[in-house]
């Protein structure tokens, strides 16, 4: 059974069961992933999965399922259980309705490249190219992952929305080492092969690793910090998630009751741009069948909107943002960020170093955890190259540092951004971010001393 037939039958069956509204989606994804470590391929993985999801509504009641089994019998069985569960569930907080279609979906240009799904032997060549580039910059070994994906999504709702999406992407992240304490990361991701540059990613990883040689333990204190795109992408992934009405509803956001307020420096404009030509996750419609759009979340420091689904609009007000996907969690169908974009600044990267004067340049991080999601107190560990800057130049490589600060304060303390931007997506940054380098003032740095 093809995806179109599955969504047709799922919507029809849901209504027959007595649901007031039904949204069905089928995602077919074919992926390949080549992993390498110590300059040797460790495994190549491939997936071919067809996954229906269904979301049903009736009189302030909602239910949903993800069924990793493309058989219609399996889906119907699940839907029967869902409807029975809705029948015995007490009503939820608000009544919501799916967006009323039909809608016209404008395709997003440059998000499909037929060459990408066909690659097998070429993956090995591309990974090798990245590793060689890292070695040429002084790296002694590299690890990483190269992923290709082809995704087709079919969506239909009982509210008259129906459409489909198709996209490809290719993504490489490479981590180069000179020794255990000296490493750097590079990244390249694109929807078309012509925009993919594994050599540049490898060279970037190798160069940072080489610069990071012979690190000394850094000192605790407050620093003016130049954040590289990878580390700020990890932060902004979380910030965009906090800007979903779902996170606000769970109490896991410092953006609650802040619409219209200044939540960041005027230098920061943060957008979820699902219409961006060539955008990694760009698409035409969400899984409630609503057309995607370019949503400005933070406009020159002011929080303009949460990312919404139909349920969150009913609960919190505001307008739909084309952000609803069946993600599980506690809502099932929930708003998510897909393509996070930061508007560029006015400086060259070199000029940003000059502006730092004395401070730190941090290239990457991992393991960000919050003590309190509503106040934004958190810490995160620096990873890969970290450098002390003196008089605008790298003075020495440092290690053992932890950023221990408050995320709203960091957003308020952005003072400069670079003109150049790049896409970042890797293991710690699952939602791709297109962003520049940024300077942040008075960043709290701590480290273990025993």
């Amino acid at each position: 059974m093809n995806p179109k037939e599955i969504v047709d039958q799922a919507v029809e069956y849901g209504l027959k069961l007595g649901a007031r509204e039904v949204a069905a989606a089928v995602t077919r994804e074919k992926r390949k992933m080549l992993k390498f470590a110590n300059d040797s391929v460790t495994i190549v993985q491939s997936w071919d999965q067809t996954v229906p999801t269904v979301y049903m509504l009736s009189e302030r009641k909602r239910a949903g399922a993800r069924v990793e089994n493309p058989s219609m019998d399996a889906l119907k069985e699940v839907m029967k259980t869902l409807k029975a569960a809705m029948d015995i569930t007490k009503p939820g907080e608000v009544e919501s309705s799916l967006p009323k279609g039909p809608f016209k979906y404008e395709p997003v240009p440059h998000i499909f490249d037929a060459r990408i799904p066909k690659m097998t032997d070429e993956l090995v060549d591309l990974a090798e190219e990245a590793m060689k580039a890292a070695r040429a910059e002084g790296a002694r070994r590299s690890s990483g992952v190269l992923v290709t994906s082809e995704l087709e999504r079919q969506v239909k709702t009982s509210a008259g929305a129906e459409g489909e999406d198709k996209g490809t992407d290719i993504n490489l992240s490479i981590r180069a080492f000179v020794d255990d304490d000296s490493s750097g990361q590079g990244n390249s991701c694109a929807t078309r092969l012509d925009d993919f540059n594994p050599k540049l990613a490898g060279a970037e990883a190798g160069k940072i690793a080489n610069q990071a040689r012979n690190p000394v333990f850094g000192d605790e204190g407050k620093y003016r910090v130049l954040f590289g795109p990878s580390i700020m992408a990890e932060f902004l992934d979380r910030v965009a998630d906090f800007a979903t009405a779902y996170s606000v509803d769970l109490g896991l956001s410092f953006f609650a009751d802040k619409i219209g307020q200044k939540v960041a420096s005027e230098k920061l404009t943060l957008v979820d741009d699902r219409r961006m030509p060539g955008g990694i996750n760009s698409c035409s419609l969400d899984e409630e069948g609503y057309p995607t759009q370019r949503t400005t979340i933070i406009d020159r420091g002011t929080l303009k909107t949460y990312l919404h689904s139909s349920y969150s609009v009913a609960k919190y007000g505001g307008a739909l943002t084309g952000s609803a996907f069946y993600v599980g969690g506690t809502w099932g169908m929930a708003p998510v960020a897909l393509n996070i974009v930061v508007e560029p600044g006015e400086y060259s990267q070199e000029k940003l170093f000059e502006q730092i004067g004395d401070g730190l340049y941090l290239t990457n991080n991992w393991y960000t955890r919050f003590q309190n999601y509503q106040t934004g107190d958190f810490s995160s560990i620096c990873r890969d190259g970290a450098f002390e800057i003196k008089n605008g130049k790298i003075a020495r490589s440092v290690k053992g540092l932890r950023i221990s600060d408050n995320m709203p304060r960091i957003l308020q303390s952005i003072t400069a951004l670079s003109r150049e931007r790049k896409w970042i997506r890797w293991w710690e940054v699952p939602v791709p971010v297109y962003l520049p380098h940024m300077i942040v003032e008075n960043v709290g740095i701590t480290r273990a001393t025993k």
Partner: protein, 474 residues
């Protein structure tokens, strides 16, 4: 199940692979949620699919699909084979697998009341009973945001490989997640995210006494808000509750002793390890410290009898009396390090490769009761629970920020303190432990590792422990 798996194995064998395994899953789960007393959508998750892993001239290929037609299976095997073969050119260190005993087994977690027999309505009643106990009149604090999630899943798996293993296993798990925001006028807000989880059936809830357990968690938040003073800083003695001991054992003992990290296979994702293969026998802590990982603890969240490479699971000693005693191994790392696998290969679903994971990681108990742990501390802090934590990707530099914490003065636990921060190295942590409590408790958690990400159910735990002369700061 057996036919499809056997078909995949035979199709792979026909291609002349060195080794092949296939694993078919039929997984089923449900989740019910109350947010601020109102039901959220009931959710179901079903999955049925197969994974094939082959070794071709030292290159590993893995492929997975949820189309279980014979044609699709053949294509899946072919992709695993072709991609492995294509990658051979860039395999500078050929993969070998340790030789292990072929196993024929059938195992199942015991469930007196099978989860499949429990109606959604019954699950909602459990949450409503908890919710009733969370009113401000009961817990003495306002909880403006509270989410309760009851989750369960059953994973039915069949594994076979070309070495002759055939294993059928069924694990059923049940868990509760809660997310609380507590506020007190003029005192600010604090948050707590907690989890319980076990293998077994519906009967596991009886022992949890969830209405009391969750209400107690809420009450303590009010106490912290009303009473907690600033935590002291500087060098002092520290007593850590089981929850903090457990997270430390997981993060700075379990993870760095995963052999795949030690050998660099996860370098670009979860990272490497401060340990090297030749560091078995290296002292990392005091004599008081012994840490194990044990998948066979009855009803534990990380329970399994055989891993996803068909190896029988058993207790692994990671640190014995302060000395690195062993690593977590799968068949690949075991072959490279010249040892046997200790059954640590886990895959969370049909579309994930088996990688080295912890199961239930905990410090073994010592001889101290709770009073003895604090009685000769003149000035210190007792950190019972935590909220924020992290550790660097070589598992050397860790941080735990306390949530429920108390001052210790002259051998007595006195006032409540807020957000004490312990930032310490791994040898600094284990090398400071001078006393270990008698009573082990466990916490359920979902551990993340691998690419694509695999969230594995685990327990971590241990007894309360005492650390001498560590720096509390922030």
């Amino acid at each position: 199940m057996e036919d499809l798996v056997q078909h995949a194995i035979e199709a792979a064998s026909a291609k002349g692979v060195q080794y092949a395994e296939a694993r078919l899953h039929i997984d089923s789960g449900s989740g019910v949620t109350l947010t601020n007393g109102k039901p959220e959508p009931v959710q179901l998750a079903k999955a049925k699919g197969i994974a094939v892993r082959v070794l071709v001239d030292g290159a590993l290929g893995f492929a997975s699909t949820n189309d279980l037609s014979k044609e699709s299976l053949d294509e899946t095997v072919d992709i695993a084979y072709r991609t492995a073969k294509a990658s051979k050119r860039l395999v500078t260190k050929p993969v070998r697998l340790s030789k292990e005993k072929a196993e024929h087994a059938n195992w199942e977690t015991k469930a007196r009341e099978p989860l499949l027999d429990v109606a959604i309505e019954e699950k909602l009643v459990v949450l409503e009973e908890i919710e009733k106990n969370l009113s401000p009149s009961v817990v003495k604090v306002d909880l403006p945001s509270r989410t309760l999630v009851l989750i369960d899943d059953i994973s039915d798996r069949y594994f076979a490989d070309t070495d002759g293993s055939k294993i059928h296993g069924v694990a059923s798990r049940i868990g509760l997640l809660f997310i609380f925001t507590a506020s007190e006028p003029g005192k600010g807000i604090i948050q707590r995210i907690g989890q319980k989880g076990e293998t077994g059936g519906w009967e596991r809830l009886e022992a949890w006494d969830l209405p009391k357990y969750v209400a107690d968690e809420a009450k303590i938040l009010g106490k912290i808000l009303r009473e907690a003073k600033q935590a002291p800083r500087g060098e002092l003695d520290l007593v850590l509750g089981s929850e903090v001991t457990g997270i430390a054992c997981h993060e700075s003992c379990g993870h760095p002793q995963e052999a795949d990290r030690i050998l660099g296979r996860e370098a670009a994702q979860a990272g490497e390890s401060y340990l090297k293969p030749d560091m078995i026998g290296h002292r990392i802590g005091t004599e008081a410290v012994t840490v194990v990982d044990d998948p066979t603890v009855p009803n534990s969240y990380g329970f399994y009898e055989y891993d996803e490479e068909g190896v029988r699971a058993g207790r692994r000693t990671l640190i014995k009396n302060g000395v690195i005693a062993g690593f977590l191994q799968n068949r690949e790392t075991a072959a490279e390090l010249g040892v046997s696998s200790n059954g640590a290969a886990r895959a969370v679903s049909y579309d994930r490769e088996p990688i080295i994971r912890m199961a239930n990681t905990f410090m073994l108990p010592g001889e101290y009761n709770d009073e003895e742990l604090v009685e000769d501390v003149s000035k210190g802090v007792f950190i019972k629970t935590f909220m924020e934590w992290n550790i660097d990707d070589r598992r050397y530099n860790q941080r735990y920020v306390g949530l429920e914490a108390y001052l210790i003065e002259n051998g007595q636990i006195t006032s409540t303190v807020r957000n004490p921060i312990l930032e310490i190295t791994t040898p600094g942590f284990y090398g400071s432990v001078d006393a270990v409590g008698k009573t082990v408790e466990y916490e359920a958690a979902t551990c993340g590792k691998g690419e694509p990400e695999q969230g594995a159910p685990v327990w971590h735990g241990g007894p309360p422990i005492r650390l001498r002369k560590v720096r509390l700061g922030g």
